[in-house]
Symmetry: C2
Subunit: 225 residues, 2 copies
DNA sequence: GTGAAAACATGACAAATATCATATTTAAAT
DNA sequence: ATTTAAATATGATATTTGTCATGTTTTCAC
């Protein structure tokens, strides 16, 4: 089994604030899981008995609306933690987490994390800072959802994915999403999402190879209104 | 000057986790302000040099969208803190705070709060729990904005105000908002908000006395789809 | 009290988006 | 390789929501 204290992934999340001893302790009780694309990591209402540290892969956090449609709230990638919110509030999961490609995650039991939250203030503060950042991003999404058009929102989704998760060597977005997922991120019907992407393609803002998308004109895409 | 250690307001926010000594120290450097209805407490981009503890009144947190319209992200009332997010992230304010009625707030300088965050883990954890709750609520708002109709969102706004902030003795909502603010909460045009409220009135779901609103049929209002 | 400005209200129409129908392409299973 | 299902795509149309115009009511300063 791999050791947390030697794992470089933790540099990207709050676990970096743990001491060597704490990491060794966590290393001893964590479990590593392989999760297949499409698999649900946890569901709305699930009681989470710990947090997940994503070693590889990407997943979506979504919530089923009363009209039966899923809304993606956030994408979570390699390096980030999953499930801290529920653990801190001591509540059941508010969102569903689903793998978007094959993932490797480490599961750290609740007691270990809670222990560290109580005893290591700099870890707690780091978690707090991450949560504050998440809250800011969520506030911005609220404003966008409420005030911008589907076209604008799609442009921003593409730009965000490009900026946050990068591109493959050929320039295509490294995060591969279905049109349905794009719709669910933008908050629109799948047909509308497809139409907007088709339009972007016609306008030369993006190009596609299969379902791969490449941003051709980032400048113009960010000017859309 | 009033004393924090004797102030009952702190029971409603994270300051309750401070020790008596810490409260006395804060009491010595806080300043109390009276803010008039409509006054901006802080603006987007402002550098906040502390947090506000709301002793009385209510305010809105909003953000100006690129299309020039304000979107209200959250209402903050008596008992809650204002500005912690920016302080923790050490960033300029992401939102604007505007008084919705006459307010009394205590301003606590940044250094004092930061000091406590470093030295009192239970205070930090309390702030973290509050932030986690805010994040959950923000996620839910995202889903509603993206997936529900203006009619549904207005119904939820009315129900939330009713549940969270209560009613006057005559049953009208204790938080008095302009139609423009309702529109900005729902994320729609002012005219659309007015139309929906008029429709609710016609259907007997609410009644109005001037701009005061009274929920007449909470059951039916929550069934709207 | 009176006039002006702001807030509220409603109709008419335009624009954006959803829905339904139906191809077409791609991926998956056998 | 062939079949089948799923994903993508596009047109036609309905619905929702925004915008503009205009009238009414309320609020507020003087």
């Amino acid at each position: 089994m791999s050791k947390c204290e030697q794992c470089i992934i933790r540099q990207f999340n709050s676990l970096k604030s743990l001491t060597k001893d704490e990491l060794i302790r966590i290393s001893g009780c964590k479990t590593t899981k392989i999760i297949k694309k499409g698999e649900v990591i946890f569901d709305e209402g699930d009681k989470l008995n710990g947090v997940f540290c994503i070693k590889d892969g990407i997943c979506k956090l979504s919530k089923l609306s009363e009209n039966g449609k899923d809304q993606i709230v956030k994408l979570v990638v390699k390096g980030e933690l999953l499930g801290q919110r529920s653990l801190i509030s001591d509540e059941r999961a508010n969102l569903q987490a689903t793998a978007l490609n094959d993932m490797e995650v480490c599961f750290i039991p609740r007691e270990e994390i809670v222990n560290d939250l109580q005893k290591n203030p700099s870890f707690t503060f780091d978690v707090l800072q991450q949560m504050a950042q998440d809250l800011k991003e969520a506030d911005d999404v609220i404003v966008n959802m409420a005030q911008k058009s589907v076209r604008q929102r799609m442009a921003e989704v593409l730009i965000n994915i490009h900026k946050s998760f990068g591109t493959n060597p050929d320039g295509t977005l490294s995060v591969l999403l279905s049109r349905e997922d794009f719709a669910s991120l933008v908050g629109t019907a799948t047909e509308s999402a497809i139409r907007v992407l088709s339009q972007f393609k016609k306008e030369g803002l993006i190009s596609t190879v299969g379902k791969q998308i490449k941003i051709e004109d980032l400048e113009e895409l960010s000017r859309i209104e």
